[in-house]
């Protein structure tokens, strides 16, 4: 083998091992039964106490209800955002609407601003309007956050569709409503799924709104619960915290592996 290839393969192996170490330690030490943990990290799996740790994390940090909450928030917000954004894209691209550029910027600007700019006014007005610490409040803000980027993607996708189909349908007397649901939505389905996956992960992984807009345990999303568990690091012990981290990552990992095709295409639409 020529030197260049040895060097290259060597580098790849070293990088891969470096990258794998934290993941490996995460899994191995999440497996260690919490009682057996000796104070220093384990490098090889021994007794299997993973499910014990997971159930402890599930109870102690109330990951259980948080899990359900996040599933609800992520699913509902992502679906709502996709539908709303697809509708908006349909309106600004296909329908003859005036001031398209203005509407585009009004909606799209939401994704350019950092979340920090929204958080206190939202906190104050949520506190005043009894949306604070409610599930509907979180669903609303997650949807609002997701819409601008979803709109951007759906609009770019809609621009690539042939206009003739819609024009033909209009000639035949179909209403805009029908054109949207029966022609536009089926045509854009793959992009809609990609956006859904993307936004589901984004909502699932959110921490800031979770810790700001909720306090009670049966409302809080899962990352806020994990942050709490981490705050109890010395009490519950590393295995339980790591098992908790592993547990909350399962849905995104599964989605990532099973929907890889959509993941990659959702990244491609970035371009």
């Amino acid at each position: 083998m020529p030197l260049g290839r040895v060097l290259r393969n060597g580098t790849v192996v070293v990088l891969a091992v470096l990258w794998l170490v934290p993941t490996w330690l995460l899994v191995v030490n999440a497996l260690v039964p919490a009682g057996d943990y000796s104070g220093s990290p384990h490098w090889l799996p021994g007794h299997v106490g993973l499910f014990g740790n997971m159930s402890q994390a599930w109870d102690k940090a109330n990951l259980g209800p948080a899990f359900g909450n996040s599933a609800l928030y992520a699913t509902v917000s992502a679906v709502a955002a996709v539908v709303v954004a697809t509708g908006a894209a349909f309106a600004t691209v296909i329908m003859p609407v005036k001031r398209r550029v203005l509407w585009f910027w009004v909606i799209y600007s939401g994704t350019l601003l950092p979340l920090q700019v929204f958080i206190r006014p939202l906190f104050v007005s949520y506190a005043r309007s009894s949306l604070y610490d409610t599930q509907i409040g979180l669903v609303l803000i997650y949807t609002a956050i997701a819409v601008p980027f979803a709109f951007f993607v759906m609009r770019n996708y809609a621009l690539t569709l042939p206009r003739e189909v819609v024009e033909a349908a209009r000639m035949d007397g179909a209403s805009w409503w029908r054109v949207f649901w029966q022609i536009h939505v089926p045509l854009t389905r793959s992009a809609m799924i990609a956006v859904f996956v993307f936004q589901f992960v984004a909502v699932w992984n959110d921490l800031m709104f979770g810790i700001t807009l909720t306090t009670s345990r049966n409302i809080r999303p899962v990352m806020a619960a994990l942050a709490d568990l981490q705050g109890n690091y010395s009490n519950v012990g590393p295995p339980v915290v790591l098992a908790g981290a592993l547990l909350v990552s399962v849905p995104t990992l599964v989605l990532f592996v099973s929907a890889q095709r959509y993941f990659v295409s959702s990244l491609k639409i970035h371009q």
Partner: protein, 274 residues
């Protein structure tokens, strides 16, 4: 379209305007109009000066590391089959959330964590220390932790870019006698330009917004040594109860983010939709 506009205006744009407005009022109980007093704290408050420094470090780190590592790994694993497994190792952390990454790295970096354990076993015990306790080391290790997660997406994007390069161009280069480095430099790299701009733009904005990892790992501490602007804003607003200062930080952050976004928006946007 109406629901989209309503949602965005009510939940995002209105708070944005309110934050700008709020940033001009002081934090005493009656909150009088105070011109740019809140902004002047950037010069007078050492915690904020440190925060700006940290943010700069984060931006440099989050742009350089995922870009260089992502490009290198994508190029090195594009050719051979077995390296798919190696690539998976790098891409996998991308599926973790910021909070989960923080948990993993806390485990690596605490005083009796994995890194110190390895150092002690290698008889380098003198190098072992509390990684998260002293500046600027703590910010640097968090940037590395972030790179551990963020490189995956850069790898994916660069692979997509590499695969869209027509092989004929490489063959033509090889026929003309270009070595592999020359091929990379003069054929591959120019064709990766659009992808590179996206990777840089994404990392830049993500670096500026980084919050989750820092919040869960250190909460901006010890003291306020590891705060970035995003974390400072949260701290000032909700812990120090100085919403005016918090609003000013948010506005400054917004201006920087918008300026940074412009880099890749310029070529990405085709606003007219024709």
């Amino acid at each position: 379209m109406a629901p989209a506009v309503l949602l965005v205006v009510a939940f995002l744009l209105a708070p944005f305007v309110w934050t700008i407005y709020r940033s001009f009022f002081s934090d005493s109980r009656t909150s009088p109009f105070s011109w740019f007093d809140n902004y002047s704290r950037f010069a007078s408050d050492p915690a904020l000066t440190r925060s700006v420094q940290n943010t700069l470090m984060w931006v440099v780190g989050t742009v350089l590391l995922p870009f260089v590592l992502g490009l290198a790994i994508a190029c090195m694993t594009n050719a051979t089959r077995w390296s798919r497994a190696a690539r998976l190792c790098v891409v996998l952390p991308y599926a973790l959330s910021g909070a989960a990454v923080a948990v993993v790295w806390n485990f690596m970096l605490t005083t009796d964590g994995a890194v110190n354990q390895v150092l002690t076993n290698l008889h380098l015990g003198s190098l072992a220390h509390g990684w998260l306790l002293t500046w600027p080391g703590n910010t640097i290790v968090m940037i590395l932790a972030n790179a551990w997660q963020a490189t995956g997406v850069a790898v994916i994007l660069f692979l997509v870019g590499l695969q869209s390069i027509p092989p004929e161009t490489l063959e033509a280069g090889a026929l003309d006698g270009a070595g592999s480095w020359q091929q990379f430099r003069h054929i591959v790299l120019p064709q990766l330009r659009p992808v590179s701009i996206i990777v840089i733009g994404m990392s830049l904005v993500n670096g500026l917004k980084s919050f989750d990892l820092i919040w869960v790992l250190t909460q901006g501490g010890p003291g306020r040594a590891t705060e970035t602007l995003a974390v400072s804003m949260y701290n000032e607003t909700f812990l120090e109860l100085r919403p005016g200062v918090g609003a000013a930080i948010a506005v400054v952050l917004t201006v920087i983010v918008l300026a940074a976004s412009w880099l890749y928006l310029r070529r990405q946007l085709d606003v007219k939709g024709e």
